[in-house]
Amino acid sequence: MLEARGVSKSFGGLKAVVGVNMEVPAGSIRAVVGPNGAGKTTLFALISGFLTPDSGRIRFVGDDITGQKPERICARGLVRTFQITQPFAGLTVRENVAVGAHLRHESRASALRHAQAIAARVGLGDRLDQPADQLTVAARKRLELARALATDPKLLLLDEVMAGLNPTEVQEIVAIVRRIRDDLGVTVLLIEHVMQAVMSLAEHVLVLNQGTAIAEGTPAAIAADPRVVEAYLGHGAASRMTGAGDA
């Protein structure tokens, strides 16, 4: 469904993403992980058209979408959410989601109906008329998800929709995301720091560190990979840990 080849992006002297290759098969749930500043959000911005890669190509359902505008890419069926939630603050939950729904629903009535159904699916059914700027953090994350889902995407890019949630809320979102894939057939690629969520949701994980893909594989294999442990805990951490285990 999605294929990135040798994608790179620098900001001035800072290499945010370096030659990343990635594949997301249709119907899968995959994850991108990595320490803060690893380039994960930048990678999403490159895929969704908010940034243009310095080099490399991105293909989506067979078409080259490199450098296309975000609205074009969204119309093709690839939608992203924002790590820092970006609600339409002056609008209600229903109106927020309806903006997404309008992509495939010309009439107001039909867009509002679709919005209501989507809001119910992500657990915002009882907050439809609440202004978006009065929502809790957890509800804002759901609103991001709902708006994106309302565009009827083929591929959903979720940027840390579970950050800042308590364990119960995380479990709820995990269940919602799984149902989005199972019931609606939407392919999901997510960035997540909450390892519990990555372990239970993702079938395959890509690890970024300082812009480079350093490992990929099943969640279990990734968790055991010494390069990954080092990326998170610092140089020599993996050998120190095995050393400690030996002693």
């Binding site: 908010f50 609205e71 119309a75 109106e95 867009a111």
Partner: protein, 321 residues
């Protein structure tokens, strides 16, 4: 549904007023109030719903006014032709301004400055060009008759402007209930988020400013017909730009009735100011400046917002009782 009923009620109340009003002064007051409401409705499309604060709506207004005047005074064409072409001309100028500023991503005060500059450039051009009559302006020949869109009786203009204002209110209502309007408001609230959801922000803003410029162009043609005279200062000067934005800001930006309420409040206030303080030059502008500061500080959502809050408190009070 309620808004539509409100528009119908507005029409029903306004329609018999000329017959009921004994004084020409009050009729004149209502004509000018409706006229500025129309100008405010124009600004409200791109400024209120779209959040793009134009400081130069005189550019589109003046283009419409000159379109009507030049076609009649210089080319001897029929008044209705000038009237029909005014929105096309106003929309076209707005399209150029919008294309240039939105293509280069101008927002906020940069966009405001560019629109202001366009109006000034047009004022200077109208001052120096031959076919606009230069600095002395253009006179349209007095020839009363509905066919010439000239009315011996003030009430003729009243009905004309009232019809246009009602059309403008219906258009605003359509904006609120259409995909275009939903996208326009989304772009106002958060352009990046809108684009992520498939909204072509550039195209939406461009359509909004063209629509807004077309309505302002109509207002310009109305103005030319009412006073049968246009000059560069009247058409492209800052007065109209300020009126266009102040009316919806006072009444309530991005609401259907905001421009009507705002125009009524502003012109009641300016009449009151005139009778209390006399005809000092620049008084209106000083008064408007003070009012703008008060609105921004205490009533950012305008009179419509104030009414909504009062009604909510009233309803809650009744529920508690």
């Amino acid at each position: 549904m309620r808004t539509l009923a409100g528009i119908a009620l507005f029409g029903l109340v306004m329609l018999p007023l000329p017959a009921l009003l004994a004084s020409q002064v009050w009729l004149n007051f209502l004509v000018m109030t409706l006229f500025f409401a129309l100008l405010g409705i124009a600004w409200n499309v791109v400024g209120g719903y779209g959040g793009q604060f134009s400081f130069g709506h005189a550019a589109f207004f003046g283009t419409g006014a000159y379109c009507a005047a030049v076609l009649q005074a210089q080319l001897g064409l029929a008044a209705w032709l000038g009237f029909a072409l005014a929105p096309v001309a106003g929309g076209a100028v707005a399209g150029v301004v919008g294309f240039l500023s939105f293509r280069y991503g101008l927002r906020g005060s940069y966009f405001a400055l560019v629109t202001l500059a366009f109006a000034e450039v047009l004022r200077i051009l109208a001052n120096s060009a031959g076919f606009t009559g230069g600095g002395s302006g253009l006179l349209i020949k007095l020839a009363p008759g509905a066919a010439n869109l000239q009315f011996a009786d003030r009430s003729g203009f009243y009905y004309l402007v009232l019809a246009l204002v009602i059309a403008g209110l219906l258009l605003s209502l359509w904006i609120e209930r259409s995909r275009f309007g939903s996208y326009l408001v989304a772009v106002r609230e958060n352009e990046d988020a809108a684009r992520a959801l498939g909204v072509d922000a550039f195209a939406i803003k461009l359509r909004a400013i063209v629509l807004s410029g077309a309505i302002a162009g109509v207002a310009g043609a109305v103005y030319a017909q009412m006073f049968l005279y246009v000059d560069p200062g009247l058409a492209f000067g800052p007065t109209m730009s300020v009126e266009a934005l102040l009316v919806p800001i006072v009444g309530g930006m991005g609401t259907v009735f905001g421009p009507v309420l705002g125009s009524l409040a502003l012109h009641l206030l300016s009449e009151a100011g005139r009778s209390v303080l006399g005809q000092a030059p620049g008084l209106n502008l000083a008064l408007y400046g003070v009012l703008l500061v008060i609105m921004v500080l205490f009533l950012p959502d305008g009179l419509v917002g104030l009414l909504r809050r009062v009604r909510r408190r009233f309803l809650r009070g009744r529920a508690d009782a």
